[in-house]
């Protein structure tokens, strides 16, 4: 049987990258379309679904092919299938969202047709991709408040101040350091490494690492997504 519907896989990729004043900015890599429809417009990285791969594997592969990135977190966002979302025919897109570490994002191949944009300053994108990014942003902000995913933006070890900064940038508001510490500690999502960071003009903070032994992302009966 053939349904006459094209199946595509796309991904909204989030990373924290240095911006104007040296501050980190929540950013998204986009690719420029080189053919109709929407030739010249920026769009989410993706492509046709592969008949032999899992959908998540296709998302990760397309992500790597276009940007050179490997995600620390990858989760399905939504399946978009409005009949009129592509002028060239019916396309159903399974969209994923991903988090990549800051050091990883530095290495991302940027060029004529691949560029990073601040998540809240996007141009008009191809297809319904502006709506998709808005939804992914909403999901990221919502999920950050109840699931331990912020560490996916950081390296294997980090201070609580760094973790708090991730939350502050994504949620766009200041957080009380004392209450943030208690919140994270009670979630048992991180464990102290015993080491400290020296060199700052202040008391050396403890280093923590993500504790993979506890289930931090509750997706119910679905097998947990890739987190490293």
């Amino acid at each position: 049987m053939s349904t006459g519907i094209d199946l595509a896989v796309s991904t909204v990729i989030f990373a924290l990258r240095p911006g104007d004043a040296g501050r980190l900015v929540l950013s998204i890599p986009l690719v420029r379309r080189t053919r109709d429809p929407f030739e010249g417009r920026w769009s989410l990285p993706g492509g046709a679904a592969d008949a032999t791969e899992s959908l998540a594997a296709t998302a990760a592969r397309k992500l790597a092919e276009t940007t050179g990135l490997a995600p620390a977190y990858l989760e399905q966002l939504y399946c978009f299938g409005a009949p009129d979302r592509s002028p060239s025919g019916r396309v159903v897109s399974v969209v994923y969202w991903a988090l990549v570490r800051a050091d990883e994002a530095e290495l991302a191949a940027e060029g004529e047709n691949v560029r990073w944009f601040a998540a809240d300053e996007l141009p008009q994108l191809a297809f319904d991709h502006n709506l998709i990014v808005d939804y992914a942003l909403w999901r990221l902000r919502t999920k950050l408040e109840y699931a331990a995913i912020a560490h996916a933006f950081l390296g294997p070890t980090f201070t609580l101040a760094e973790l708090r900064q991730v939350h502050e940038i994504v949620l766009q508001r200041a957080l009380d350091p004392a209450n943030f510490r208690r919140q994270i500690e009670s979630s048992r999502s991180v464990v102290p490494t015993g080491e400290h960071v020296t060199g700052g003009r202040h008391r050396p903070p403890r280093l923590y690492r993500y504790d993979g032994s506890v289930q931090l992302v509750d997706n119910g009966p679905l097998t947990s997504v890739a987190v490293r």
Copy 2:
């Protein structure tokens, strides 16, 4: 372009139906497969995606064609696309979950190949449909705790005791009537009609109706799903 992938739409339908001791039971209608693969096994209602319809419209139509039901609530659950989920070739299924009213469920066409099952007593289903139902159950129970969707199981007007019973059956635990009342009242999701139900051997309870003017299901930037 052709991906060699079949796109299907299926739906997990929930309703509260009278069970053994006259008590309401959370139930799901299933259809018996009449051909390979999994001939004879029970499965979720659904079928091939339609090239001209929206995915939600296809879900609602297939739902009506097989069971005669119209959903009071319909929302996308997940897109299942593991390469080995169908032995007959690659099938990607966009799965929706739906709530139907009790009076509506009474009228459902039941027959040799369509039957209702208690949600927690399902046989071994075709494909990965057991996993899908487990996930839908998890989503229903999770969402019931923070979104006003329980009224979709009831008629246009209802008492708070009826609404509480819906919560108790779905969540499988008793709820304090006093605290439940306050919780619902503070959510502003229902308004009293001014009428009362007489005939019981007790104080006549007020009737309420769902207040559609407030946004009760927060799906972020996505257009809200059908609720009636």
